[in-house]
Protein backbone atom coordinates (compact mmCIF):
# COMPACT_ATOMS: atom_id res chain seq x y z
CA UNK A 1 0.00 0.00 0.00
CA UNK A 2 1.16 3.52 -0.80
CA UNK A 3 -0.04 6.47 1.24
CA UNK A 4 0.64 10.06 0.25
CA UNK A 5 -0.66 12.43 2.90
CA UNK A 6 -0.90 16.17 2.59
CA UNK A 7 2.16 16.07 0.31
CA UNK A 8 3.73 19.43 -0.48
CA UNK A 9 6.69 20.07 -2.75
CA UNK A 10 8.08 23.42 -3.75
CA UNK A 11 10.23 23.52 -6.88
CA UNK A 12 11.63 26.62 -8.49
CA UNK A 13 9.72 28.78 -5.98
CA UNK A 14 6.38 27.24 -6.93
CA UNK A 15 4.29 24.75 -4.96
CA UNK A 16 4.11 21.96 -7.53
CA UNK A 17 2.42 19.63 -5.07
CA UNK A 18 0.16 21.43 -2.65
CA UNK A 19 -1.42 19.17 -0.05
CA UNK A 20 -1.83 16.09 -2.22
CA UNK A 21 -3.67 13.16 -0.62
CA UNK A 22 -3.71 9.80 -2.33
CA UNK A 23 -3.93 6.22 -1.17
CA UNK A 24 -3.12 3.30 -3.44
CA UNK A 25 -4.30 -0.10 -2.25
CA UNK A 26 -2.23 -3.26 -2.51
CA UNK A 27 -2.75 -4.96 -5.86
CA UNK A 28 -4.45 -1.94 -7.34
CA UNK A 29 -3.55 -0.26 -10.63
CA UNK A 30 -4.02 3.47 -10.35
CA UNK A 31 -3.71 5.75 -13.34
CA UNK A 32 -2.60 9.28 -12.64
CA UNK A 33 -3.73 11.84 -15.19
CA UNK A 34 -2.97 15.51 -15.45
CA UNK A 35 -1.77 18.15 -17.82
CA UNK A 36 1.90 18.41 -18.68
CA UNK A 37 3.89 19.98 -15.89
CA UNK A 38 1.31 19.41 -13.15
CA UNK A 39 3.72 17.26 -11.14
CA UNK A 40 2.87 13.68 -12.05
CA UNK A 41 6.52 12.65 -12.36
CA UNK A 42 7.27 14.60 -9.19
CA UNK A 43 4.59 12.56 -7.38
CA UNK A 44 6.11 9.27 -8.56
CA UNK A 45 9.57 10.41 -7.50
CA UNK A 46 8.32 10.94 -3.96
CA UNK A 47 7.13 7.34 -3.74
CA UNK A 48 10.69 6.01 -4.14
CA UNK A 49 12.41 8.76 -2.18
CA UNK A 50 14.08 10.37 -5.21
CA UNK A 51 12.54 13.59 -3.89
CA UNK A 52 11.85 14.47 -0.29
CA UNK A 53 8.62 16.30 0.47
CA UNK A 54 8.64 19.82 1.89
CA UNK A 55 5.53 18.91 3.84
CA UNK A 56 3.34 15.88 4.50
CA UNK A 57 4.35 12.25 4.49
CA UNK A 58 4.89 9.26 2.27
CA UNK A 59 4.36 5.69 3.39
CA UNK A 60 5.21 2.70 1.21
CA UNK A 61 4.63 -0.95 2.20
CA UNK A 62 3.98 0.12 5.76
CA UNK A 63 7.22 2.08 6.02
CA UNK A 64 7.50 5.80 6.40
CA UNK A 65 10.03 6.95 3.80
CA UNK A 66 10.00 10.72 3.81
CA UNK A 67 13.35 12.13 4.88
CA UNK A 68 15.22 8.82 5.08
CA UNK A 69 18.76 8.21 3.91
CA UNK A 70 19.64 6.22 0.79
CA UNK A 71 20.71 3.31 3.01
CA UNK A 72 17.34 3.25 4.82
CA UNK A 73 15.48 3.46 1.52
CA UNK A 74 17.12 0.26 0.27
CA UNK A 75 14.36 -2.01 1.55
CA UNK A 76 11.53 -0.08 -0.10
CA UNK A 77 13.49 0.40 -3.31
CA UNK A 78 14.21 -3.31 -3.54
CA UNK A 79 10.46 -3.85 -3.73
CA UNK A 80 9.76 -1.15 -6.30
CA UNK A 81 10.34 -1.13 -10.06
CA UNK A 82 10.39 2.25 -11.75
CA UNK A 83 9.96 2.87 -15.44
CA UNK A 84 11.43 6.26 -16.33
CA UNK A 85 9.91 8.49 -18.96
CA UNK A 86 12.78 7.82 -21.40
CA UNK A 87 13.90 4.42 -20.20
CA UNK A 88 17.09 5.73 -18.50
CA UNK A 89 19.27 2.89 -19.79
CA UNK A 90 23.05 3.08 -19.38
CA UNK A 91 24.34 3.67 -22.89
CA UNK A 92 27.59 1.71 -22.59
CA UNK A 93 25.77 -1.50 -21.69
CA UNK A 94 23.70 -3.64 -24.04
CA UNK A 95 19.98 -4.10 -23.49
CA UNK A 96 20.66 -7.44 -21.88
CA UNK A 97 23.36 -6.07 -19.56
CA UNK A 98 21.15 -3.15 -18.62
CA UNK A 99 18.33 -5.46 -17.67
CA UNK A 100 20.66 -7.75 -15.74
CA UNK A 101 22.34 -4.88 -13.88
CA UNK A 102 20.21 -4.85 -10.69
CA UNK A 103 20.86 -8.56 -10.16
CA UNK A 104 24.53 -8.58 -11.23
CA UNK A 105 25.57 -5.62 -9.07
CA UNK A 106 24.69 -7.42 -5.88
CA UNK A 107 26.20 -10.71 -6.93
CA UNK A 108 23.81 -12.89 -4.95
CA UNK A 109 22.16 -14.60 -7.89
CA UNK A 110 24.11 -17.23 -9.88
CA UNK A 111 24.91 -16.16 -13.45
CA UNK A 112 22.90 -18.92 -15.13
CA UNK A 113 19.83 -17.93 -13.13
CA UNK A 114 20.32 -14.27 -14.06
CA UNK A 115 20.57 -15.17 -17.75
CA UNK A 116 17.35 -17.19 -17.62
CA UNK A 117 15.53 -14.42 -15.81
CA UNK A 118 16.78 -11.78 -18.30
CA UNK A 119 15.58 -13.88 -21.23
CA UNK A 120 12.23 -14.31 -19.52
CA UNK A 121 11.56 -10.59 -18.95
CA UNK A 122 12.92 -9.61 -22.34
CA UNK A 123 10.50 -12.05 -23.91
CA UNK A 124 7.69 -10.52 -21.88
CA UNK A 125 8.38 -7.08 -23.37
CA UNK A 126 9.11 -8.72 -26.76
CA UNK A 127 12.70 -7.55 -26.95
CA UNK A 128 14.41 -10.93 -26.89
CA UNK A 129 15.69 -10.44 -30.46
CA UNK A 130 17.42 -7.19 -29.55
CA UNK A 131 19.15 -8.32 -26.37
CA UNK A 132 22.68 -7.62 -27.59
CA UNK A 133 22.03 -4.17 -29.03
CA UNK A 134 23.09 -0.94 -27.38
CA UNK A 135 20.45 1.62 -26.34
CA UNK A 136 21.60 3.96 -29.12
CA UNK A 137 20.85 1.25 -31.68
CA UNK A 138 17.20 0.75 -30.79
CA UNK A 139 14.13 2.98 -31.08
CA UNK A 140 12.69 5.12 -28.30
CA UNK A 141 9.81 2.74 -27.81
CA UNK A 142 12.16 -0.21 -27.52
CA UNK A 143 14.28 1.65 -24.97
CA UNK A 144 11.16 2.20 -22.93
CA UNK A 145 10.30 -1.47 -23.05
CA UNK A 146 13.86 -2.34 -22.06
CA UNK A 147 13.47 0.07 -19.13
CA UNK A 148 10.33 -1.79 -18.15
CA UNK A 149 12.15 -5.11 -18.37
CA UNK A 150 14.80 -3.77 -16.01
CA UNK A 151 12.12 -2.56 -13.62
CA UNK A 152 10.62 -6.06 -13.53
CA UNK A 153 13.80 -8.11 -13.26
CA UNK A 154 13.91 -8.27 -9.47
CA UNK A 155 10.23 -9.18 -9.13
CA UNK A 156 8.98 -5.98 -7.50
CA UNK A 157 5.79 -5.71 -5.46
CA UNK A 158 5.14 -2.21 -6.75
CA UNK A 159 5.73 -0.91 -10.27
CA UNK A 160 5.64 2.80 -11.08
CA UNK A 161 5.30 3.63 -14.76
CA UNK A 162 6.05 7.12 -16.04
CA UNK A 163 4.29 7.37 -19.41
CA UNK A 164 4.89 3.78 -20.51
CA UNK A 165 3.11 4.18 -23.85
CA UNK A 166 4.00 7.71 -24.96
CA UNK A 167 5.73 7.68 -28.32
CA UNK A 168 4.86 4.06 -28.97
CA UNK A 169 3.00 2.76 -32.02
CA UNK A 170 -0.46 1.32 -31.27
CA UNK A 171 0.80 -2.26 -31.35
CA UNK A 172 3.67 -1.61 -28.95
CA UNK A 173 1.20 0.24 -26.72
CA UNK A 174 -1.03 -2.81 -26.69
CA UNK A 175 1.93 -4.99 -25.74
CA UNK A 176 2.59 -2.70 -22.77
CA UNK A 177 -1.08 -2.57 -21.79
CA UNK A 178 -1.32 -6.33 -21.90
CA UNK A 179 1.80 -6.56 -19.74
CA UNK A 180 0.41 -4.07 -17.23
CA UNK A 181 -2.78 -6.11 -17.03
CA UNK A 182 -0.77 -9.28 -16.55
CA UNK A 183 1.18 -7.66 -13.71
CA UNK A 184 -2.13 -6.56 -12.25
CA UNK A 185 -3.51 -10.08 -12.26
CA UNK A 186 -0.39 -11.32 -10.50
CA UNK A 187 -1.22 -8.94 -7.65
CA UNK A 188 1.37 -6.23 -8.25
CA UNK A 189 0.51 -2.70 -7.13
CA UNK A 190 0.96 -0.21 -9.97
CA UNK A 191 0.84 3.52 -10.43
CA UNK A 192 0.80 4.58 -14.04
CA UNK A 193 1.20 8.10 -15.33
CA UNK A 194 -0.10 8.52 -18.84
CA UNK A 195 -1.57 10.89 -21.40
CA UNK A 196 -2.94 7.98 -23.39
CA UNK A 197 -6.64 7.76 -22.48
CA UNK A 198 -7.16 4.53 -24.36
CA UNK A 199 -4.47 2.85 -22.32
CA UNK A 200 -5.74 4.47 -19.10
CA UNK A 201 -9.20 2.97 -19.53
CA UNK A 202 -7.78 -0.36 -20.51
CA UNK A 203 -5.59 -0.90 -17.45
CA UNK A 204 -6.93 1.23 -14.59
CA UNK A 205 -8.74 0.08 -11.49
CA UNK A 206 -9.05 3.68 -10.45
CA UNK A 207 -8.14 6.96 -12.14
CA UNK A 208 -6.95 10.14 -10.42
CA UNK A 209 -6.73 13.58 -11.97
CA UNK A 210 -3.98 15.83 -10.70
CA UNK A 211 -4.55 19.56 -10.89
CA UNK A 212 -2.91 22.47 -9.09
CA UNK A 213 -0.94 20.22 -6.78
CA UNK A 214 -3.93 18.23 -5.52
CA UNK A 215 -6.00 15.26 -6.60
CA UNK A 216 -8.93 16.96 -8.25
CA UNK A 217 -10.97 13.81 -8.98
CA UNK A 218 -10.63 10.17 -8.09
CA UNK A 219 -12.76 7.21 -9.05
CA UNK A 220 -13.17 3.94 -10.91
CA UNK A 221 -13.07 3.96 -14.68
CA UNK A 222 -16.87 4.17 -14.83
CA UNK A 223 -17.03 6.93 -12.25
CA UNK A 224 -14.48 8.98 -14.10
CA UNK A 225 -16.16 8.40 -17.46
CA UNK A 226 -19.46 9.64 -16.10
CA UNK A 227 -17.98 12.24 -13.80
CA UNK A 228 -19.90 15.47 -13.33
CA UNK A 229 -16.63 17.30 -12.70
CA UNK A 230 -16.09 19.74 -15.55
CA UNK A 231 -12.35 19.39 -15.22
CA UNK A 232 -12.52 15.64 -15.80
CA UNK A 233 -14.78 16.06 -18.80
CA UNK A 234 -12.49 18.74 -20.18
CA UNK A 235 -9.47 16.46 -19.83
CA UNK A 236 -11.21 13.45 -21.36
CA UNK A 237 -12.53 15.44 -24.31
CA UNK A 238 -9.34 17.46 -24.74
CA UNK A 239 -11.28 20.73 -24.77
CA UNK A 240 -9.27 23.93 -24.73
CA UNK A 241 -11.73 25.85 -22.54
CA UNK A 242 -12.52 24.75 -19.03
CA UNK A 243 -11.39 24.66 -15.41
CA UNK A 244 -8.03 23.04 -16.24
CA UNK A 245 -6.94 25.95 -18.41
CA UNK A 246 -8.20 28.79 -16.23
CA UNK A 247 -5.27 31.10 -15.59
CA UNK A 248 -3.15 28.50 -17.33
CA UNK A 249 0.54 28.98 -17.84
CA UNK A 250 0.30 29.18 -21.59
CA UNK A 251 -2.99 31.14 -21.52
CA UNK A 252 -4.04 29.79 -24.90
CA UNK A 253 -7.76 30.20 -24.35
CA UNK A 254 -7.71 33.38 -22.29
CA UNK A 255 -5.79 35.38 -24.80
CA UNK A 256 -8.42 34.73 -27.44
CA UNK A 257 -11.21 36.08 -25.32
CA UNK A 258 -9.67 38.76 -23.19
CA UNK A 259 -7.17 40.27 -25.52
CA UNK A 260 -3.67 39.60 -24.28
CA UNK A 261 -4.32 39.62 -20.57
CA UNK A 262 -2.64 36.33 -19.89
CA UNK A 263 0.59 37.16 -21.63
Amino acid sequence: MIILENLTKILGGKAILNGLDLQIETGETLVLLGRSGTGKSVTLRHIVGLMTPDGGRVEVLGKEISGHSEEELKYVRSKVGYLFQDGALLNWLTVEENVALPLKEFGKTPTSEINDRVQEVLKEVELDFHADKFPSEISGGMRKRAGLARALISRPEIVLHDEPTSGLDPISSSIINRLVNRLKSSGITQVLVTHDMHSAFEVADRIALLHEGKIRSLGTVEEIRNSADEAVQQFLDGKIKGPLTQGAIDGVCDSEENGNEAT
Partner: protein, 259 residues
Protein backbone atom coordinates in the same frame (compact mmCIF):
# COMPACT_ATOMS: atom_id res chain seq x y z
CA UNK B 1 25.92 48.91 -8.34
CA UNK B 2 23.69 46.84 -6.01
CA UNK B 3 22.94 44.52 -8.92
CA UNK B 4 26.64 43.99 -9.35
CA UNK B 5 27.15 43.23 -5.67
CA UNK B 6 24.19 40.86 -5.68
CA UNK B 7 25.59 39.01 -8.68
CA UNK B 8 28.97 38.71 -6.98
CA UNK B 9 27.31 37.47 -3.78
CA UNK B 10 25.34 34.91 -5.76
CA UNK B 11 28.47 33.74 -7.54
CA UNK B 12 30.44 33.37 -4.29
CA UNK B 13 27.55 31.51 -2.67
CA UNK B 14 27.29 29.06 -5.55
CA UNK B 15 31.05 28.56 -5.63
CA UNK B 16 31.14 27.78 -1.91
CA UNK B 17 28.29 25.31 -2.38
CA UNK B 18 30.00 23.57 -5.30
CA UNK B 19 33.31 23.42 -3.43
CA UNK B 20 31.58 21.86 -0.43
CA UNK B 21 29.83 19.35 -2.64
CA UNK B 22 33.10 18.47 -4.38
CA UNK B 23 34.98 17.94 -1.12
CA UNK B 24 32.22 15.77 0.33
CA UNK B 25 32.13 13.79 -2.92
CA UNK B 26 35.88 13.25 -2.75
CA UNK B 27 35.70 12.16 0.89
CA UNK B 28 32.86 9.74 0.21
CA UNK B 29 34.66 8.32 -2.81
CA UNK B 30 37.79 7.73 -0.75
CA UNK B 31 35.70 6.06 1.95
CA UNK B 32 34.20 3.76 -0.67
CA UNK B 33 37.67 2.59 -1.80
CA UNK B 34 37.22 -0.92 -0.32
CA UNK B 35 34.44 -1.48 -2.86
CA UNK B 36 37.02 -1.19 -5.62
CA UNK B 37 38.16 -4.71 -4.85
CA UNK B 38 35.29 -6.49 -6.49
CA UNK B 39 35.75 -8.11 -9.86
CA UNK B 40 33.30 -5.81 -11.62
CA UNK B 41 34.74 -2.55 -10.25
CA UNK B 42 38.34 -3.58 -10.91
CA UNK B 43 37.42 -4.47 -14.46
CA UNK B 44 35.62 -1.11 -14.92
CA UNK B 45 38.67 0.65 -13.54
CA UNK B 46 41.16 -1.17 -15.77
CA UNK B 47 38.95 -0.58 -18.81
CA UNK B 48 38.93 3.13 -17.99
CA UNK B 49 42.72 3.25 -17.49
CA UNK B 50 43.13 1.69 -20.89
CA UNK B 51 40.67 4.03 -22.64
CA UNK B 52 42.07 7.08 -20.88
CA UNK B 53 45.67 6.23 -21.86
CA UNK B 54 44.72 5.50 -25.42
CA UNK B 55 42.66 8.66 -25.71
CA UNK B 56 45.34 11.03 -24.46
CA UNK B 57 48.49 9.27 -25.69
CA UNK B 58 49.01 11.01 -29.04
CA UNK B 59 48.22 14.54 -27.95
CA UNK B 60 50.42 14.20 -24.85
CA UNK B 61 53.32 12.93 -26.94
CA UNK B 62 53.08 15.73 -29.49
CA UNK B 63 52.66 18.49 -26.92
CA UNK B 64 55.49 17.13 -24.74
CA UNK B 65 57.85 16.79 -27.69
CA UNK B 66 57.32 20.37 -28.78
CA UNK B 67 57.41 21.74 -25.23
CA UNK B 68 60.83 20.13 -24.77
CA UNK B 69 62.00 21.52 -28.10
CA UNK B 70 60.77 25.01 -27.26
CA UNK B 71 62.46 24.92 -23.84
CA UNK B 72 65.75 23.81 -25.42
CA UNK B 73 65.51 26.40 -28.18
CA UNK B 74 64.90 29.32 -25.81
CA UNK B 75 67.21 28.12 -23.05
CA UNK B 76 69.91 27.26 -25.55
CA UNK B 77 69.68 30.65 -27.21
CA UNK B 78 70.23 32.55 -23.96
CA UNK B 79 72.93 30.15 -22.75
CA UNK B 80 74.77 30.25 -26.06
CA UNK B 81 75.20 34.01 -25.77
CA UNK B 82 77.04 33.30 -22.50
CA UNK B 83 78.90 30.37 -24.01
CA UNK B 84 77.16 27.99 -21.57
CA UNK B 85 75.05 25.86 -23.92
CA UNK B 86 76.34 22.72 -22.21
CA UNK B 87 73.91 23.57 -19.36
CA UNK B 88 70.81 22.98 -21.53
CA UNK B 89 70.43 19.47 -20.16
CA UNK B 90 69.82 20.46 -16.57
CA UNK B 91 67.51 23.37 -17.42
CA UNK B 92 65.27 21.27 -19.59
CA UNK B 93 65.31 18.24 -17.32
CA UNK B 94 64.49 20.16 -14.15
CA UNK B 95 61.74 22.27 -15.66
CA UNK B 96 60.25 19.32 -17.53
CA UNK B 97 60.25 16.92 -14.58
CA UNK B 98 59.40 19.34 -11.82
CA UNK B 99 57.06 21.84 -13.47
CA UNK B 100 56.16 21.61 -17.14
CA UNK B 101 55.61 17.87 -17.38
CA UNK B 102 53.01 17.57 -14.60
CA UNK B 103 51.37 20.89 -15.49
CA UNK B 104 51.12 20.28 -19.20
CA UNK B 105 49.91 16.71 -18.75
CA UNK B 106 47.27 17.93 -16.30
CA UNK B 107 46.01 20.50 -18.79
CA UNK B 108 45.81 17.94 -21.56
CA UNK B 109 44.01 15.41 -19.37
CA UNK B 110 41.62 18.09 -18.11
CA UNK B 111 40.65 19.08 -21.61
CA UNK B 112 40.33 15.55 -22.90
CA UNK B 113 39.27 13.44 -19.89
CA UNK B 114 37.97 15.85 -17.23
CA UNK B 115 35.52 17.45 -19.62
CA UNK B 116 34.56 13.99 -20.83
CA UNK B 117 33.77 12.81 -17.29
CA UNK B 118 31.63 15.91 -16.65
CA UNK B 119 29.75 15.43 -19.92
CA UNK B 120 29.29 11.71 -19.41
CA UNK B 121 27.97 11.96 -15.85
CA UNK B 122 26.02 15.13 -16.75
CA UNK B 123 24.24 13.30 -19.56
CA UNK B 124 23.39 10.50 -17.16
CA UNK B 125 22.03 13.06 -14.72
CA UNK B 126 19.70 14.76 -17.21
CA UNK B 127 18.51 11.50 -18.74
CA UNK B 128 17.59 10.19 -15.26
CA UNK B 129 20.17 7.39 -15.41
CA UNK B 130 21.63 8.48 -12.07
CA UNK B 131 18.15 8.30 -10.55
CA UNK B 132 17.69 4.87 -12.08
CA UNK B 133 20.92 3.74 -10.37
CA UNK B 134 19.73 5.10 -7.03
CA UNK B 135 16.46 3.21 -7.32
CA UNK B 136 18.35 0.00 -8.01
CA UNK B 137 20.31 0.84 -4.82
CA UNK B 138 23.48 1.11 -6.88
CA UNK B 139 25.51 3.96 -5.45
CA UNK B 140 26.56 6.38 -8.23
CA UNK B 141 29.68 7.12 -6.18
CA UNK B 142 30.81 3.51 -6.16
CA UNK B 143 29.58 2.72 -9.63
CA UNK B 144 30.68 5.84 -11.52
CA UNK B 145 32.92 8.15 -9.51
CA UNK B 146 35.17 5.60 -7.79
CA UNK B 147 36.52 3.87 -10.92
CA UNK B 148 37.03 7.22 -12.67
CA UNK B 149 38.85 8.76 -9.74
CA UNK B 150 41.13 5.76 -9.29
CA UNK B 151 41.82 5.50 -13.02
CA UNK B 152 42.78 9.16 -13.31
CA UNK B 153 44.90 9.03 -10.17
CA UNK B 154 46.86 6.15 -11.71
CA UNK B 155 46.97 7.46 -15.26
CA UNK B 156 48.10 11.02 -14.59
CA UNK B 157 51.53 10.11 -13.08
CA UNK B 158 52.07 7.54 -15.84
CA UNK B 159 51.31 10.09 -18.54
CA UNK B 160 53.44 12.66 -16.71
CA UNK B 161 56.49 10.39 -16.71
CA UNK B 162 55.85 9.64 -20.35
CA UNK B 163 55.56 13.37 -21.15
CA UNK B 164 58.81 14.03 -19.26
CA UNK B 165 60.70 11.46 -21.30
CA UNK B 166 59.33 12.66 -24.61
CA UNK B 167 60.00 16.31 -23.68
CA UNK B 168 63.61 15.61 -22.76
CA UNK B 169 64.00 13.60 -25.94
CA UNK B 170 62.72 16.56 -27.99
CA UNK B 171 65.06 18.91 -26.14
CA UNK B 172 68.07 16.68 -26.73
CA UNK B 173 67.36 16.67 -30.46
CA UNK B 174 67.32 20.47 -30.53
CA UNK B 175 70.42 20.64 -28.32
CA UNK B 176 72.32 18.37 -30.68
CA UNK B 177 71.11 19.92 -33.93
CA UNK B 178 71.01 23.62 -33.07
CA UNK B 179 73.67 24.02 -30.38
CA UNK B 180 76.06 21.18 -31.01
CA UNK B 181 75.61 19.65 -27.53
CA UNK B 182 76.18 15.90 -27.85
CA UNK B 183 73.61 13.43 -26.54
CA UNK B 184 76.09 12.16 -23.96
CA UNK B 185 76.87 15.64 -22.65
CA UNK B 186 73.18 16.51 -22.60
CA UNK B 187 72.10 13.44 -20.66
CA UNK B 188 75.06 13.60 -18.27
CA UNK B 189 74.26 17.19 -17.40
CA UNK B 190 70.58 16.36 -17.02
CA UNK B 191 71.08 13.30 -14.81
CA UNK B 192 73.77 14.87 -12.61
CA UNK B 193 71.58 17.82 -11.72
CA UNK B 194 68.25 16.12 -11.39
CA UNK B 195 67.62 15.09 -7.78
CA UNK B 196 65.25 12.36 -6.65
CA UNK B 197 63.35 15.19 -4.91
CA UNK B 198 62.59 16.72 -8.31
CA UNK B 199 61.17 13.44 -9.51
CA UNK B 200 59.10 12.98 -6.35
CA UNK B 201 57.63 16.46 -6.42
CA UNK B 202 56.71 15.97 -10.08
CA UNK B 203 54.95 12.71 -9.24
CA UNK B 204 53.22 14.11 -6.15
CA UNK B 205 51.93 16.98 -8.25
CA UNK B 206 50.63 14.66 -10.91
CA UNK B 207 48.77 12.55 -8.36
CA UNK B 208 47.14 15.68 -6.86
CA UNK B 209 46.27 16.90 -10.34
CA UNK B 210 44.75 13.53 -11.28
CA UNK B 211 42.53 13.57 -8.19
CA UNK B 212 41.52 17.16 -8.95
CA UNK B 213 40.62 16.47 -12.58
CA UNK B 214 38.41 13.52 -11.67
CA UNK B 215 36.76 15.19 -8.67
CA UNK B 216 35.92 18.42 -10.49
CA UNK B 217 34.67 16.51 -13.55
CA UNK B 218 32.44 14.26 -11.43
CA UNK B 219 31.18 17.17 -9.31
CA UNK B 220 30.19 19.23 -12.33
CA UNK B 221 28.61 16.16 -13.93
CA UNK B 222 26.52 15.31 -10.88
CA UNK B 223 25.42 18.92 -10.44
CA UNK B 224 24.29 19.23 -14.08
CA UNK B 225 20.87 20.80 -14.55
CA UNK B 226 18.66 21.42 -17.53
CA UNK B 227 19.12 19.24 -20.58
CA UNK B 228 21.77 19.25 -23.27
CA UNK B 229 22.85 22.85 -22.72
CA UNK B 230 23.41 21.98 -19.07
CA UNK B 231 25.75 19.17 -20.12
CA UNK B 232 27.82 21.52 -22.30
CA UNK B 233 27.96 24.02 -19.47
CA UNK B 234 29.10 21.33 -17.02
CA UNK B 235 31.94 20.28 -19.32
CA UNK B 236 33.03 23.87 -19.86
CA UNK B 237 33.00 24.60 -16.14
CA UNK B 238 34.92 21.44 -15.32
CA UNK B 239 37.72 22.54 -17.66
CA UNK B 240 37.89 26.13 -16.40
CA UNK B 241 37.77 25.21 -12.71
CA UNK B 242 40.34 22.42 -13.06
CA UNK B 243 42.73 24.73 -14.97
CA UNK B 244 42.56 27.26 -12.16
CA UNK B 245 42.97 24.66 -9.42
CA UNK B 246 45.88 22.96 -11.18
CA UNK B 247 47.86 26.13 -11.59
CA UNK B 248 47.23 27.27 -8.02
CA UNK B 249 48.02 23.84 -6.56
CA UNK B 250 51.12 23.65 -8.76
CA UNK B 251 52.43 26.92 -7.42
CA UNK B 252 51.91 26.01 -3.77
CA UNK B 253 53.35 22.52 -4.12
CA UNK B 254 56.49 23.99 -5.71
CA UNK B 255 56.65 26.61 -3.00
CA UNK B 256 56.41 23.99 -0.23
CA UNK B 257 59.04 21.87 -1.98
CA UNK B 258 61.51 24.70 -2.45
CA UNK B 259 61.18 26.13 1.06
Amino acid sequence: MTGWIQALGGFLGRSAETTGYGLVLLARTILSLPHLFSRRRLRDCLDLCFTYCLGSFTVTAVVALFTGMILALNGGDSLASLGQENLIGRIVAISMIREMGPFMTALILTASLGSGIAAEIGTMRVSEEIDALRIMSISPIRFLVLPRLVALTLITPVMTIFAGFIGILGASIVAANNFGVTWIAFSNDALENLSTGDVYIGLIKSVVFGITIATVGATQGLLTKGGATGVGEAARRAVVITFLLVIIQGYYLSWVYLS
